[in-house]
Amino acid sequence: MITILYFASIREHMGKAKETVELTENITTVEALIRHLSETNSAFNQLCQSANSPLISVNQVFAEPSSPIVFGDEVGFFPSMTGG
């Protein structure tokens, strides 16, 4: 099982801040997780088709589509940041 967190406009779009997802044996990378979420959740699918694709973190560190995902990971999806 992994934890997924959504932030800011993506949190509002998804209608939730957090969810947990069971890891099947084919979900081993961020890319595979995104494919899985797109297939099972139309709001997430919409997000991936938009011009501004979300930024991704794994265990609170910026991640790439190829980054590995393992049991217990915390994955964040968020829009581009506007601090300062």
Binding site: F7, Q60, M81, T82, G83
Partner: protein, 157 residues
């Protein structure tokens, strides 16, 4: 050295603490960011704008602190700093409120100036903060400016 907080901060207290910790510093730079009523960050078209009534700052607890620590560490590796302080506020803020403080102390003036500027550039687009602006007309998430992303490129060697 790093704080993410809803409460306001006192510049003098931070300055005094920095002076006490910075040994034989010759230069202290303190940058304060304030909430503007007219916020051009949301758009480059000034015709688009209406006045900010309030700002809501969301962040990613845990990751934010890690990124701020990382930014402070990077600055300390690039410049000979004697002290670094970063405070970023979150939650609900109003025009004129303090949002962010970046303070650096060094023996040398240029190191203090450049490192504070560097930290601000990274804060703008590499730390997980998001601003939602509420005006009389609407509430909307502020989008990152291309110029903020471009500013980062200055520091690549």
């Amino acid at each position: 050295m790093i704080s993410v907080q809803t409460s306001d901060f006192e510049l003098e207290a931070e300055y005094t603490s920095l002076r006490n910790h910075a040994g034989d510093a010759g230069a202290i730079v303190m940058f304060t960011g304030l909430v503007r009523e007219i916020c051009t960050a949301q758009s480059d078209n000034p015709g688009d704008l209406d006045k900010t009534e309030r700002l809501f700052l969301e962040h990613y607890p845990g990751m934010t602190e890690k990124q701020l620590e990382k930014i402070a560490r990077e600055a300390s590796e690039r410049w000979p700093l004697l002290a670094v302080r970063i405070i970023h506020r979150v939650g609900e803020l109003f025009p004129g409120d303090q949002i962010v403080l970046v303070a650096t102390a060094s023996s040398h003036r240029q190191a203090a100036f450049e490192s504070a500027n560097f930290i601000m550039d990274f804060l703008k687009s590499r730390a997980p903060f998001w601003k939602k602006q509420t005006s009389s007309a609407e509430s909307r998430w502020i989008e990152s400016r291309i110029s903020d992303v471009d500013s980062l490129k200055r520091w690549r060697e």
